[in-house]
Symmetry: C2
Subunit: 527 residues, 2 copies
Amino acid sequence: MKSPLTGTSVIGYSRGQGETPAGQAVHASSGAKLEPIYLSATPEEVDQAVELAATASPLYSKLTGKERGAFLRAIAAELEAVVDDIAERGTLETGLPDARLRGETGRTTGQLRLFAALVEEGSWVDARIERAQPERQPLPKVDIRSMLKPLGPVAVFCASNFPLAFSVAGGDTAAALSAGCPVVVIAHHAHPGVAEIVAQAILRAALATGMPEGVFSLLYGGGPAVGIPVVQHPAIQAVGFTGSRHGGTALMAAAASRPQPIPVYAEMSSVNPVVILPGALERGEAALAEAFFNSLVLGVGQFCTNPGLVFLPDGMGLVFLDRLKQLVGTSMPGVMLSEGVAQAYVDAVDAFANSEGVETVGRSAAPNGTGPGAAAIFSVSVRRFLEDDLLQSEIFGPAALIVRGSLAEIEATIPELEGQLTATIHGTEAELAHHSALVAALANKAGRVIFNGFPTGVEVCHAMVHGGPYPATSDGRSTSVGTMSIQRFVRAVCYQSFPDAILAPELQDANPLGIWRTEEGKRLPPP
Amino acid sequence: MKSPLTGTSVIGYSRGQGETPAGQAVHASSGAKLEPIYLSATPEEVDQAVELAATASPLYSKLTGKERGAFLRAIAAELEAVVDDIAERGTLETGLPDARLRGETGRTTGQLRLFAALVEEGSWVDARIERAQPERQPLPKVDIRSMLKPLGPVAVFCASNFPLAFSVAGGDTAAALSAGCPVVVIAHHAHPGVAEIVAQAILRAALATGMPEGVFSLLYGGGPAVGIPVVQHPAIQAVGFTGSRHGGTALMAAAASRPQPIPVYAEMSSVNPVVILPGALERGEAALAEAFFNSLVLGVGQFCTNPGLVFLPDGMGLVFLDRLKQLVGTSMPGVMLSEGVAQAYVDAVDAFANSEGVETVGRSAAPNGTGPGAAAIFSVSVRRFLEDDLLQSEIFGPAALIVRGSLAEIEATIPELEGQLTATIHGTEAELAHHSALVAALANKAGRVIFNGFPTGVEVCHAMVHGGPYPATSDGRSTSVGTMSIQRFVRAVCYQSFPDAILAPELQDANPLGIWRTEEGKRLPPP
């Protein structure tokens, strides 16, 4: 039963009663338990949330882009109004610093407004018009008009490492709501209190802008009790997830085993290879080491774009390595997101340290320099790297493996890598031009290719691709960041021989919304 | 061993040796065996074909749109040069009439040229440019530019019912080659000779336009021996298939069980519901019955868009039903594509005829009026329809089920239907406006919604959506017909901070290809 000391799921515009405890947040650095205890949604509450989403779906999907935009902007404003609460609770639950939580809230409101502008403008639906040609020989041509339409209710799983930008009101939620899909969010057990604050902000925005009940729900509870049942509910039509490979593949299997399989967009695992060419070392090895190390330890290395794998040509980079050794030796361990993340990090670092042929470049000299959140840098030969699958696995935290080999060996290794979110190359412009096959091989493995930069820091914009071939994501054809992510939650539908007045405004002859369209294959600007 | 009496796979620019017989085509109406015997590709030949495709992939993917366009146009011209051979062999293998085979060849060359024009023009890559803002606060903005890139080698399975348009040089092959993906085609056992003629045309075009070896191969052999191994080869990156639900789901499972799962675009099963509103009957019941019957028996009903399910309001349509009974009674059975298709049709029709509550509206009065290729029309109450899953299953051939109920019952039944390629509504414009929820429900179930027409006849154009929610297709987010199908075989890749000269021309500042692009979210015409 609900009490002042328990928190429960948000089911449409009501609160659930809950069942067994879904867990209790703990203070990230002290380990002290934080009130309240959050109760797992009951099976009935899971059904209610999804059924409300299904009921809301036809109503919500036919709202105009301007109406959906107003809802998204209202969410952004409500979030800004509670940023102090978010920062206060967030620092306790996640150990992330106050500035990061405020900055991540800003990124979250920014992406909500970017999507609002997209749907208010309206051209994103890719309206295509082919007019009838009744006189065409040998067969008349019928009138065919297509546009992108929402898939239906979407399940979104919160990420441990981004309590705002990839959680309750994060990228997948913004993209799904923009597309016209109701959203059922499954909270992450590590930051249930932030989830509650954000959910209440969304509810206030939904009520203020007159959204149908069920456009949003938030469920507490673990994967087997709540997450999998949501994914397997027949009304759910797509899934967004950011987390572990284990969690992502479990959702892929659950979605594939449904009577009607549905798309799963799971962002899972990436080591984000960095290739260093000789010219980059000639420019200044120490500065390169410092820039790399800053990217490695940013946010205690808890980013999906953390650069965990560096290819360094044989017989070069002594100063680079020395400087790295110095930086890591004098670094202090950071507070990790949760006890589970911290323990997994220590175990993974130990496994690398004890692997055959792996040498330690440097570890922190602090008293807890081999404990949670302490940076670690290893090196290994390219030959040994290719022999041991473990060495391609992601260490979630501030650890990196430097792979040594000839340039030819490095180039030959890229096609053997798994799919990645990002791939980076450091060198001169002349080297980049000379190594075009290497660039193409990196682009073949990743969603984003970076020149002379580092992968941490993902710009939220129209051109961003934050995705990549499996296992970086379950579906390398899509991005989880930027406006292209709206394509995750839509499909094209075409209308044949429909009267103009019955068509959606996007497809009507007069183009009343003034959007860009494609007519008979020609792109046309608004009238 | 290869002999003049055997046919073997096409492995790049060579012929395979083959192994065990993969089957022998039979004369569609007489059942006589047709020379030669086609030999199944050996496991080594399967590997060779895919490895050649993998080797060709980086070379082929970096060709310009104009170069790929020239290849596609050369294929079209080579096909036209052998249309007599295609028609001669095709009529023997498939029982389809000469005019249909020539028409389908024209559709196939038309879609090749439509894709050629698309890639020659070049804007389809959806180039997006976000320029650096080094002075931006609080963080500088980096330069990010994205475009669509090919996935890599694609496996394409030929369809039984379209020996040209959905086979060796059909829609998926055209889309994949346009996108920049080499193609490994798996021939259909029912028309191996047509496959060979078309493959030779593609090879001549590839050689004439200087394509890398491996851009195309054709493999003979069954699913377990050849099809599944191709799908599970690590170099294959996507699969296109048109066929049975059984075959499609087997490929989905094979692709999902790979270490790296890949997308499968399987078009499988659709009954293409038609809803008749009272106004359509008032316009003329006999004419409506005639138009419907023509669509039902076109091509002996062997189209994925065949209208197999009709919703007819209770207490109406007596003349419509009488006219249908008359038409079906006097119709003559047609020759079906193969013995297997013919037997499956007889079995499915029997199962419907013997289902509880199903009445026979009419069957052919010809001597073989209950045999292969003979039209059959049944009716059932909406209540009974909802109770028996069999009655939603596709009968591949000229059979339809008429479901009777009140308009409210019909509207309530639509959400219970499986996913469909098409959904059709007949009525007046006033009825269409009045039943907007019904239209939305139909659009929610299908890729194409048709007003006052019939689903057979799929226009190859930029706005066509030939796809729909599962099980119509395995991936309802895509189409297999029209230029949007190029999106099946691509993913977006973005380049961060790349020097202008290293970027693909599509992304360079000067826009040397003169394509439409999106800059900072704004669509811009060519300079």
